[in-house]
């Protein structure tokens, strides 16, 4: 398990389970501040044929965070070696509005809402 923690958020990458979970509220100031999370997301794709990104506990994500997540999805799309699933929650309003855009970036993405 590899983790990143900051003010109000947590990211856990569980290699054995092939899943990475983002939880809390993420409103970091720009892509440079998102770099460690971006790196962990990209790393979680390495040598893996499936990966689940669990966002069911991510209450808030600002536009820099949306940019970071989109960048990761584009990276996964371009690598073509890992089947990506993103789990969202219907109880968190921003996810119903914004996560569908990721599917437009990567049609093969499996988007599941709890």
């Amino acid at each position: 398990m590899k983790s990143l923690e900051g003010d109000g958020y947590k990211v856990d990458f569980d290699s054995g389970d092939s899943s990475i979970r983002l939880a809390g509220s993420l409103r970091l100031g720009g892509l440079s501040e998102y770099a460690p999370i971006s790196q962990l997301l990209d790393e979680s794709l390495d040598g893996r044929s499936t990966l689940t990104v669990d966002l069911t506990g991510l209450e808030f994500l600002n536009s820099s965070g949306i940019a970071t997540l989109s960048k990761f999805v584009i990276n996964a799309r371009n690598r073509k070696d890992c089947a990506l699933t993103i789990r969202g929650s219907n109880a968190i309003p921003w996810q119903g509005k914004s996560l569908n855009n990721l599917k437009r970036l990567m049609p093969a993405l499996e988007l599941v809402f709890d």
Binding site: R27, F60, K71, I92, N101, L105
Partner: protein, 189 residues
């Protein structure tokens, strides 16, 4: 001199108008220290509006609607405050966020100072935004950001695409060739 882009709403302190006003002087604290206040203020605005969208246990839809409105207000206010803090020119008057509510819409109004150069770049972005299809421009911007780390305008594009918001801007000539830029975001109810 004043220049408008989009439909600018006149916010008048009328008898039935509810509004809330937050003022900041970004220069008083380092940006890094100030940043977490964006989230606190935005969440406060989100919670504040829920008063006007009460829960009714007999109508389950009210719970969903309240959560949707809280989320939308919190997201939009946070983006506007982040922009105000990032782009504010300390030579100009302070950024302010006004949240105005009536039966039909919620209007956010944020103003900040901008240097002549920043104002010109921003005008060019607004011109692109007004000419392009916002859905396509959004995807284009995400693809570009994956290569060049350029996230310009993504906050505005999410407001339009994901929240169905209408945006308008007013540029007022200010001190030393700079401008006071007022951004309005309208959410129809």
């Amino acid at each position: 001199m004043t220049e408008d882009f989009g439909h600018f709403v006149d916010i008048r302190p009328g008898r039935d108008a509810e509004s809330l006003n937050l003022s900041f002087w970004p220069g008083h604290l380092p940006l890094k220290q100030r940043w977490r206040n964006n989230g606190l203020s935005a969440d406060f605005l989100g919670d504040y509006v829920t008063t006007f969208f009460p829960l009714d246990d007999d109508i389950p839809e009210t719970r969903h609607r309240q959560a949707e409105i809280r989320g939308a207000v919190s997201y939009i206010a946070n983006e506007l405050l982040e922009n105000a803090m990032k782009f504010h020119d300390a030579g100009q008057p302070e950024p302010i966020t006004i949240l105005s509510l009536d039966d039909e819409q919620i209007v956010f109004q944020e103003s900040n100072g901008a240097s002549a150069d920043n104002a010109a770049a921003f005008r060019a972005f607004i011109a692109r935004l007004r000419e392009a299809d916002p859905g396509e421009l959004y995807l284009e911007q995400l693809e570009r950001n994956a290569l060049s780390e350029d996230t310009a305008g993504l906050g505005y594009l999410t407001m339009i695409n994901d929240y169905g918001a209408e945006l308008a801007w007013r540029f007022e000539a200010g001190h030393d060739g700079g401008y006071r830029v007022i951004t309005q975001v309208t959410l129809k109810l």
